[in-house]
């Protein structure tokens, strides 16, 4: 019995090592998800950010067609990486509404000219109020909204090539 006990510290050490290894190789998900998924979008109306592209308001999302709400900013580097995927989604027929967070009209205009404009409308969320109201914890983030204004899916971070099909399917499924 005593002899077996001598291994106890070693077993404890291996246990700690296992916990550390799991933390290293499978880091915990630190994303703060919106608690509004499954709920209705709050009321909002954002003015237009750039000339020639209308602003965005809640009514856009309650017309019966599912839409993608994309929270972005010209100062956000992953948003640049994401833009080709948004263009692909647009080509697939997904209507995308943009919310420009804490940005200037000049910079947003340059961003859209340089990387393409996948948006039907671009709303000016200068003080980030809509971002807080929909439980978004950063840029970029995308929300699939069904035709009645309900949030169906939240995608945190940039949309990668492999995410496009999932998001397009969610938009189709939200009909």
């Amino acid at each position: 019995m005593r002899k077996a006990l001598i291994w106890l510290p070693f077993v404890a050490f291996v246990g700690v090592l296992a916990v550390v290894a799991i933390g290293l190789f499978r880091p915990a998900d630190r994303d703060v998800r919106s608690a509004l998924v499954g709920h209705e979008l709050p009321e909002f109306a954002l003015p237009a950010m750039v000339e020639g592209v209308p602003g965005v308001d809640k009514a856009r999302f309650t017309q019966g067609t599912p839409r993608l709400l994309n929270v972005f900013a010209s100062w956000c580097i992953p948003c640049i990486a994401e833009s080709p995927q948004l263009m692909r989604l647009k080509a697939m027929g997904v209507p995308i509404e943009g919310v420009a967070v804490r940005d200037t009209p000049e910079n947003t205009g340059i961003f859209l000219r340089r990387y393409g404009n996948p948006f039907v409308g671009v709303g000016d969320d200068r003080d980030g109020r809509l971002q807080l109201a929909i439980g978004s914890s950063g840029v970029p983030e995308s929300y699939v909204i069904d035709g009645k204004g309900r949030i169906v899916l939240q995608h945190i971070g940039d949309i990668r090539a492999e995410d496009v099909e999932t998001i397009a399917a969610a938009v189709r499924g939200a009909r």
Binding site: R30, V32, R33, S34, A35, L36, A73, W75, C76, I77, V101, R102, D103, T104, N107, R126, D127, G128, R129, Q131, L132, A133, I134, G135, S137, G138
Partner: protein, 135 residues
């Protein structure tokens, strides 16, 4: 060399991807009414910054923390109670947003573990004191 480094630091533009806009209007401005400001400050101390998740929004330099401070101050100034503002944020971000989470099935271990551990300690202490007396 030291001077050169200092000069380089002075002219270096930060490489962070951050907004070019100045912080939100009420992010770093105290409310004129000290009683309201005290209420806002107490709430800001117990709300978590969603960007730098180990910090309260009162301590964080993240732009989003500034947005949240502005939101707290504006709503306090409009006469909302700290509880209403906290609930509004919990509705959007979940209980994770507050460092003082309400008791629920998920947070119950957090609240109950200290009591359970204390009772276990008392029980172990009693057992060992008894043994000593017997000797």
């Amino acid at each position: 060399m030291k001077r050169l480094v200092a000069l380089a630091l002075l002219v270096a533009a930060p490489a962070f991807a951050d907004t070019p806009l100045p912080p939100a209007a009420m992010a770093d401005t105290q409310l004129p009414d000290p009683r309201q400001e005290a209420k806002a400050k107490a709430l800001m101390d117990e709300l978590r910054c969603v960007v730098c998740q180990g910090q309260a929004i009162a301590d964080s330099d993240a732009d989003m923390a500034g947005q949240m401070r502005a939101l707290v101050r504006e709503r306090i100034a409009q006469g909302e109670s700290p509880d209403q503002i906290r609930d509004w944020l919990i509705d959007r971000y979940g209980a994770y947003i507050t460092y003082d989470p309400p008791m629920s099935a998920v947070t119950a271990p957090l609240w109950l573990a200290p009591i359970v551990l204390l009772l276990a300690g008392v029980w172990i202490a009693r057992a060992s004191f008894k043994q000593r007396r017997r000797r």
